[in-house]
Amino acid sequence: MKDTDIKRLLYVHLLCIFSIILSIFIPSFFLENFSVLETHLTWLCICSVSVTAVNLVSYLVVKPNASSKRSSLSYKVTRFLKCCIYFLMSCFSFHVIFVLYGAPLTELALETFLLAVTLSTFTTVPCLCLLGPNFKAWLRVFSRNGVTSIWENSLQITTVSSFVGTWLGAFPIPLDWGRPWQEWPISCTLGATFGYVAGLVTSPLWIYWNRKKLTYKNN
């Protein structure tokens, strides 16, 4: 039972990674002069859209939490609207946090906001898919000993690694190397992407490795 779960998790994650890789290569067939560094903002949009789509589809297909019994249409619609609001709120709050970290207030606002959108895609969208718009559940998952399934466990790992990736991505900015990717916010978005991908790769492996030790309240 558990092993199949891990396998499904792995497939979903591989799909996500695949979508990110595709978002790097596919657009260059349709768009002229497309490259990750030079037309960075375009890539950010494409990447966020494709990752969101893959997340939505895979979670709809796999349905890791088959607990939503009430499936009336109005309930679904309100839930979806709530999710949208949560997503927008997370984008704005990430933006605020970046400004608090020292991002320029007025210049480069679009760039900062797109970084916020990307980070939200990597963190908030999976949370919304898995946990729904439930702030307390989120807090529970992100506190110590709060996870209740391998899905939540992997969610914890990928989210934290995306955050850490973004965080580490800010480090090269003050260095005097003068590289194009040191410009705000390119290093941070790259950091977020690498962090997310690393989380996607490591979380199934880590869960597989520790499958004996992991005991969840529900299982």
């Binding site: 608090l100 970290y101 307390k136 807090l139 992100f142 003050p174 260095l175 005097d176």
Partner: protein, 983 residues
Amino acid sequence: MRLGSGTFAACCVVIEVLGVALFLRGFFPAPVCSFSETEHQTESPAPEPSAGAISNWTELPRPLFRKVVIMLIDALRDDFVFGSKGVKFMPYTTYLVEKGSSHSFVAEAKPPTVTMPRIKALMTGGLPGFIDVVRNLNSPALLEDNVITRAKAAGKRIIFYGDETWVKLFPKHFVEYDGTTSFFVSDYTEVDDNVTRHLDKVLKRRDWDVLILHYLGLDHIGHVSGPNSPLVGRKLSEMDSVLMKIHTSLLSEERETLLPNLLVLCGDHGMSEAGGHGASSVEEVNTALILISSAFERKPGDIRHPKYIQQTDLAATLSIGLGLPIPKSSIGSLIFPVVEGKPMREQLRFLHLNTVQLSKLLQENVPSYEKEPGFEQFKVSERLHGNWIRLYLEENNSEVLSNLGSKVRRQYLEALRTLSLSLSRQAAQYDIYSMAVGAVLVLEVLALLLPSLPRALTGKAELDVPLLSPASSLLFYLLLLALAALHVAVCTSTDSPCYLCSLPWLTAGGVLVLVSTLLCAVVSALAELLASGKRLRKNPPQSSSGWSGLDLLISLGTVGHALSLGASSFVEQEHQTWYFLVNTLCLALCHETYRHCFLGHDCARQRCPHAGEEFDWVAVAPQAKSTGPDVWELDRASKHPSPLEALRGPERWMVLVSPWVILTCCRLLRSLNQTGVQWAHRPDLGHWLTSSDHKAELSVLAAVSLIMIFVLVQKRCSLASKVAMAFGLLGIYCYRVAVGNLLFPWQQNNKGISKGITEARFVYVFVLGVLFTGTKDLLKSQIPATDFAVKTVGLWEIHSGFVLLAALLLRPHRLPVLVLGLAIQAVMARFVWTPLRHDAAQVAAMHYWFGQAFFYFQGNSNSIATVDISAGFVGLDAYAEVPAVLLTTLATYTGPVLWASHLLNFLTSEAGSGSALSHACFCYALICSLPVSAYIILVTSLRYHLFIWSVFSPKLLYEGMHLLITAAVCVFFTAMDQTNAKS
């Protein structure tokens, strides 16, 4: 020997200060110089080289100029003369540069771009060591070979007017002088009038050969209001008229004597965009240098692109011009255009003299000098020169002669360039032995602190320091013997100067004893740690509760920051690191708060089962890792339920909002002062406020800040100190108005700017009053029967006395830093640390982080240029070294000291456990000594880095100073802890 962990930490930091001092003494070496100091007076000049034929020209060439006037304008940046400002405000100079008989250059100064080392460089032609910055305030006489000494020895009569530094450097060299003090930075008219008023008289006289004028006004304007102030233009046109006066007078004299004179206009260093100097940015390094003499050809034209030369080239040029031997340690090369008009034989002679001097210096400083390209070029050109002389003496064909001559000249110029380059690159030698001993001391202290961390943070906060145990004594004597042998071996073998060897052997022996004692202590501490580790493995406890996320963040952040210091950009931009870390800390606290608020029950349930086990475990292994704080915390937790759940209504909201409030405050402060190097020129609020158009806004801001300071501080003071605070803050406003920074509402434009001595002293009286009340309360609390609250009030009064002093010393546009600092402290104490019940060690670490961030918030950076020396002269009539240094240090380290004193207050008023203070002290000591030790190792390994003098060395000085302050803080903590224990 049993010691409290606070006492232990304080001792450790004090020893570490010793180690760092020793390291610094070894690190800042003697400059590249000539060692044959004593014999230079008698040595004859190098004769003209000749192949075969014997030259008859052996004495020094005759002087080129009869009189030399050096007009040094402090902080004369190149674009003040050659840029648009020069065209606008210095018409006469521009005319001379463009059409007159002059040579103009951009002279590059080497960092540190501070006045005294620059004067030394101009006059000796050498590169003074970095440590001269520190000695800048108290400059001793210049002992190295220099132009002034040579000129005096040659019987020249020298007159000097201007900056007193010269008089200190050359105490008996001037036949007439008038020194002006450079310490009242806000005075920029009187300093220069004091120089100019002598001019009319002196220019009429004929009884002098060299006249030196050092004008300070421009530098003072820069320090007060920056290079774009309208005052700069006025000052430049004043300087222009002075130059015109001197030049016309020299010209009229020349008409009578028929010998050319030389007028030198130069700057000692530039001025950064913020108005300071000391670092190595382009604006600070490039200075204007103009040589004016009727001996030069009039060459109209390429003025817009003056050639780049080194500042050190002036010494050699002046020596040649005055017919003196070139100073021995000069690394500069003759500015060739000066002698271009002379006959070929003289030109070659001058070049030869200069090359011989440089190659001698190279021989003395580089062991393998024969392989240096410059030396080879020198040999080649000397041989060619000899051939040329032979041809010349044989009266050969003049065309052949001139062709060969220009070839020799080219060869010489090339050799000069290479020699001077390799000499300036020749890093001054480090005193590796002293550095190593200092570094070993520091590392031993760290190695002693780190393993005792778990035991130091136990409930009893006591440590066994195995100083006197007999087992280690044999080791100790062996070590001491080995070290003594090493010491003797090192001191007898090296010929380079070594500080530790030059100490009296009793002192050196003391250092060695200290080193070996510490090593023994480290060894036994490690052995004990291993033993207890084994014991732990036998009965393994659960250690999941050991590290919370916050602990992890704090330790990772500290280690990461220490490692980041290895990159020069991270040293330059260290403020970014701290802002980043503090922001992350706030977000982590935010997460923790939310978890406790919304999931409080879960957490409590998860924690409780551990409590019982943990108490058992403590009984089994009392020295186990970090049980102490948990025990303390759980102890309190079991008495009453989590206070977060008890909070309702607005209080709860404040807890939820407070991290965001703090984050916003930090962001505001960050945009107040754009510090660092990379983005320092960006406009920020501070610049906006200090510009002269926004005086009214600044006044309002300062008034509001002062009122806010009163509001934040007064609550916990006694009535007497409340009144004193109010008067003190009022006095501060009056002082700033008197100095001319602020305005009274009824006063439209500032007329009389005074030094504000009365007002500042008025404030000092109240500072002392508040401090005195605080001390009195502290002493009162020692009497057993008194209330505990008396002590808290006393401590808070001392804190507020310090705040008052800081408010006086900080520039008015930095007062918001103080206000927001106090506000953040209040919010954190009330809504974060108390409800979340962080233990003393965590609180201490957070205080340290915030202290560091505030160090940068207040506008400091890791370059010397941002030290606000004007703070050292608040309320002082004349320069007094001790108070000036003390005040400047306090003003610079306001942030860290403010947070340390708040830590003391917070822990005392909370008074949860008796050992909280010593935990905090230990943690503070450890977290401060970690970056210092790491930095010392990094600097040692990077000592041949390109940026070692411009980036790493100033940071080293800052670190040393910070460690000294931490030592003082730790000693004070321990003293408070002792009085705690007694009462």
